[in-house]
């Protein structure tokens, strides 16, 4: 945890309705800077909906999502749509079902993600077309950065292969590398460990810890794999049926009766007892 706890992401009374269905109901939580915050809950709890609101995919029905940059600038993410969330607020995300540019090479996937830096350097294409020095410098910086993340994710030998030809675990790592190439302040990962075996999940843990430690990037992740969640998270938020049912450190969450009930279910004759415990 960072020395001075200050929030990077404040989700305040967020609600998302689709017609009559309330997918997310009045959820509030805070993610601290340089923390790994996990969003967990049973299937259909509304985790991905929260993600989609944060990353500009959905316009929330109600609530505020405030992102505070390290330099003090603040953005209300629900007011930014589309590419502006990535470009202006610098929030990057990955997807549960990966969305790599399968027909482009691994390296190109990472260079596309540096569009904005290259765009400024190329003076909106003109310098790029005429091959000016400033643009060539920027392009080689972009390649250096891409190589750095390829090295970190162990994909360097695959740099010139089409992204679609990578193995499943490699594609997951490439998606994270690509998100990092956008130079984010907040990295949102939707089930990064889904479909990974035990060894790959351990590598993922190491990668995420490295990103947080060396680059000071705050991470928000959705995950079902408890070995990942419990090992790397600083803070866990639990959703069930669109409502936040718990919020705290991994130890606190592990022992929370509400969470246990949500995950494991309870016997009929225990209902009253559990309800009494959780104060319903």
């Amino acid at each position: 945890m960072s020395a001075a706890a200050e929030p990077i992401l404040t989700v305040d009374r967020l609600s998302m309705r689709f017609g009559g269905l309330i997918a997310v109901d009045d959820v509030s939580f805070v993610a601290q800077r340089s923390d790994i915050t996990a969003l967990i809950g049973p299937n259909g709890a509304g985790k991905t909906t929260v993600f989609n609101c944060i990353t500009g995919f959905y316009k929330p029905s109600a609530g505020l999502i405030r992102l505070q940059h390290p330099d003090g600038r603040a953005y209300l993410l629900e007011r930014l749509l589309n590419f502006r969330v990535a470009k202006v607020a610098r929030v990057a995300r990955t997807f549960q079902n990966m969305r790599l540019f399968a027909g482009m090479t691994v390296l190109e996937n990472l260079v596309v993600a540096q569009h904005n830096a290259l765009m400024r350097a190329s003076a909106f294409s003109f310098a790029g077309l005429f091959g000016l020095k400033s643009y060539r410098t920027a392009e080689s910086a972009a390649l250096d950065k891409a190589h750095y993340w390829l090295d970190r994710t162990g994909l360097l030998p695959r740099a010139d292969d089409p992204a679609g030809s990578l193995a499943y675990g490699e594609q997951r790592r490439l998606e994270i590398a690509r998100a990092m190439c956008t130079d984010p302040v907040l990295l949102c990962l939707d089930e990064p460990a889904a479909g990974l075996n035990a060894r790959e999940s351990a590598e993922l843990n190491a990668l995420l810890k490295f990103i947080r430690r060396e680059h000071g990037i705050s991470i928000l992740l959705i995950e079902h794999d408890m070995s990942v969640v419990m090992e790397i998270s600083d803070h866990i938020v639990v959703l069930d049926y669109g409502v936040k049912i718990a919020d705290g450190t991994p130890e606190a969450i592990r022992n929370d009766p509400k969470v246990i009930a949500a995950y494991l279910g309870i016997e009929d004759d225990e209902v009253e007892k559990v309800e009494a415990e959780v104060g319903l």
Partner: protein
Amino acid sequence: MEYFVQQLIIGITLGSIYGLIAIGYTMVYGIIGMINFAHGDVFMVGGFIALIAFLALLAIGVTSIPIALFLVLLIAMALTALYGWTVERFAYRPLRHSYRLAPLISAIGMSIILQNYVQIAQGARVKPLPPIVTGSHTLMSSDGFDVELSNIQIIVVLTTVALMVSFSWLVAKTRLGRDMRACEQDLKMASLLGVNIDRTISLTFVIGAALASVAGIMYLLYYGVIDFYIGFVAGVKAFTAAVLGGIGSLPGAMLGGLLIGLIETFWSAYFSIEYKDVAAFSILIVVLIFLPTGILGRPEVEKV
């Protein structure tokens, strides 16, 4: 033999023009998945701008043919690109998040608007251009039949090859090309990575229109006449070429253009000139029955 070679030359020239127009169809389809039915009319507008520019340059005393050609190329490309940009900005972009058919209908409307606008502004009559590029070379000769390769045919083919090479380079090697390919594969993801998709789409239309304007100039120089209706016929042919080659594929558009040009020419030469369009479209149907994605098209992989 001589007759065959002569038809081959004519077919390749015609195919080059179709290929240049087909690139505009295929690029737009690749990126936003719509058929830009106004593209053929943008080609026609390019031809008219070239005609006006030629006459204006002659009027102010530019008599050197290479200089005049170069200036006309620049003027026509720039102004037609502006048309391409405007069409996208006002007719398609507002409808991008609407239902799928809306931009298509808007495109048909745009096509009618451009045709009628030119008809009213320039008149419905066929406009001639005095021959600018003359001269030809006799390649072979026998029994009084000469195989002629005219200078204008050389210019058409060389310009097309140069443009296609530089355009392929742009798509494969430059930042803009990378962005275009990223948008083609996953528009939403590209925008999440910070790619300005509106700008990329605009530039796609601009480049497509510029290439179509070059095709318009070539058409004008080659046939020497132009009218407000050429965009429709050439547009349908170029669209057929794009589908034949595999819509969304750049080499496919070039190959498709060439094939349509050759089929049309040979059919007219050996069978009947009245049925040349029937021949071109019949081949399209046959190819699509056996190769539904066109000759070089990728099969569409549905993502889960």
